[in-house]
Amino acid sequence: MTDFVASPPVIRPGGTVRPRPRRWKEHSILPGFGLSLGVTLIYLGLIVLLPLGVLAMRPWEIGLDGIVRTLTDARVAAALKITFGISFLAALTNGPLGLLIAWTLTRYEFPGRRIMDALVDLPFALPTAVAGIALTTLYAPTGPLGALAAKIGIKTAYSPLGIFIALVFIGLPFVVRSIQPVLQDLDRGVEEAAQTLGATDLQRIAYVVIPALGPAILSGISLAFARAVGEYGSVIFIAGNMPMKTEIAPLLIVIKLEQYDYAGAAAIGVAMVAISFGALIGMNILQMALARRGRT
């Protein structure tokens, strides 16, 4: 666990005490560190870093100003904004909803609970294009829900709201499945203690349950966010794909590829990776800070 451990000072012949340089790795009692780290590094390098590295090489064909021109193009900027903005909103929406579903599935016993539990995974299992077609059928202006929404003046499919619906759909299982095991393992005694101390049900959930679930909720949200950013199949059907309005960045990449603008496509790709990576690191830091509280 402790990577940085101060060693006892070494007394030099001259009599001065100098701190021994910190070792960066405390020897673990578990054997196989070298081997497992080696495999981890090679695998991560081969599967993750190498393709990303190649991607990062690609845009330079068009030069720095070519990249800048591509990324500052109003259509590209709008697509990036739509992708990240709506992905973030969808992931955030899934936070409380996923918590509620996980809560219902773990805390109550009712007929059909197992079936509902299995239903949660369905967005995982469905080919995303199928999900897209299904959602579009439902939310199109002629579809049952779309027509209903249109009556009260809300446009669902072929609008940013449509993208949002698709992204909520595909992100939900990540949140539920992140929270569920933690909620299951939560010590009931802690909640009972809160009750005996006079906490109402709401106080118990707000002060005791949710803080304990915080890291899991956050991890679910970041997974859902990461998934939403890269989502293509389900969104393109329902979005309508109007440039500047409902065109997502992954679609723009495909469009650029079809126009043989590989460098331009790669430039958007690199930008997406950079933003995603930054966002995920930010969430990870927050999550670690939450998890560390009281667990040192």
């Binding site: 009972e192 006079g198 803080p211 915080g214 040192t296």
Partner: protein, 358 residues
């Protein structure tokens, strides 16, 4: 300190439990349990695992609902009150501290969740936490998280947290269960002092007879969901109501015997039967250290010493009586006269308890 001063134990009844039953599926956890605790009394619920003692404690806290029966506290119908309005301070077996809160936040929890109109001010809460920290001797640890404390310290935080709400009753579920023997003994004394200082009616659950006898004003012994005996530690130890209680409260030796009129016959030893002994075939129980080694020609059970082992201050003497090996105990370091491996002796139980043979 804002605690009510402890006067001499009030004879007024505080807790009344009447005919409480609880069933888990087809398994009866409590069967028609009735008992009372006086105000400011320290009551132990003692029993082996599965005896229903924890279930009874949870019924008192409101965490379990009994199927039948009545629970009153200070005359008030306790079962009609939800957990959070009962104002009982409960200490859980594994302390159940809030791990994301500091020690001070843990202790203050019961005060901070109060309704605005009843909530003390920030500085009052701070004072109260400081008071409690000094009461449980944890000054200076208020900023720590539970994970940075030892088991004994966590236990005291849990106790301070329970006391913070000025509970009407303190409930302790195996409070020393997870601690090592040394810490246990220290905390036990300290808990008793704390109880006397705080003057709260306390019910505590334990499976450790030594702990119950040492700590409690009265001990309720439970078995299979039933109350077997209720009395002061002395009463239950001196006059166990059933062979089970005798056995559970300490080491026991058991011999078959017969009561005939006022005489008790065990093998070749005849003595006066204890008062109220049942007639006919009986089981005779005695403690292995409550025996006298009689001269060979005197009265007593004929026995042969099989082995002698020194165990610290005590000596264990393995005897063969009537074909049965019995472990007796004598206070060392010197052996009782006439006792040595291989020698015949006569053994006279000093205070045999007699139960109808079952």
């Amino acid at each position: 300190m804002n605690f009510r001063r402890a006067e001499s134990t009030d004879e007024r009844l505080a807790l009344e439990i009447k005919g409480v039953s609880k069933q888990y599926g087809r398994f009866p956890a409590l069967k028609d349990v009735s008992l009372q605790a006086k105000d400011k009394e320290f009551l132990a619920l003692l029993g082996p695992s599965g005896s229903g003692k924890t279930t009874l404690l949870r019924v008192l806290a409101g965490l379990e609902e009994p199927d039948a029966g009545e629970v009153r506290f200070g005359g008030e119908d306790f079962l009609a009150l939800p957990v959070r309005l009962r104002k009982v301070g409960m200490v859980f077996q594994h302390y159940a501290l809030f791990r994301h809160m500091t020690v001070a936040q843990n202790i203050a929890f019961g005060l901070t969740v109060r309704r605005r109109s009843e909530k003390p001010s920030k500085s009052e809460i701070g004072d109260r936490v400081a008071d409690l920290l000094s009461l449980v001797q944890l000054e200076g640890l208020e900023k720590r998280f539970p994970s940075q404390l030892s088991g004994g310290q966590r236990q005291r935080v849990a106790l301070a947290r329970a006391l913070a709400i000025e509970p009407k009753m303190l409930l302790l579920d195996e409070p020393f269960g997870a601690l090592d023997a040394q810490v246990r003994r220290e905390l036990r004394r300290w808990l008793r002092e704390l109880h006397d200082k705080a003057g709260v009616t306390t019910v505590f659950v334990t499976h450790d007879q030594e702990e119950a006898l040492d700590l409690a004003d009265r001990v309720a012994i439970l078995k299979d969901g039933q109350l077997i005996q209720l009395g002061t530690p002395n009463e239950v130890y001196e006059h166990p109501a059933t062979p089970f209680v005798f056995d559970f409260l300490g080491a026991a030796c058991r011999m078959p015997g017969v009561v005939d009129g006022s005489r008790l016959l065990v093998a070749d030893w005849e003595s006066e039967a204890p008062k109220g002994a049942p007639q006919g075939p009986v089981d005779v129980f005695f403690r292995p250290d409550e025996v006298a080694f009689a001269p060979l020609d005197g009265a007593g059970l004929a026995a042969e010493v099989r082995g002698v082992t020194q165990r610290g201050p005590d000596v264990r003497i393995d005897c063969l009586i009537e074909g049965q090996t019995v472990e007796l105990q004598a206070h060392g370091p010197t052996l009782p006269p006439g006792v040595a491996t291989g020698l015949p002796v006569r053994i006279k139980p000093l205070r045999p308890q007699v139960y109808a043979a079952g």
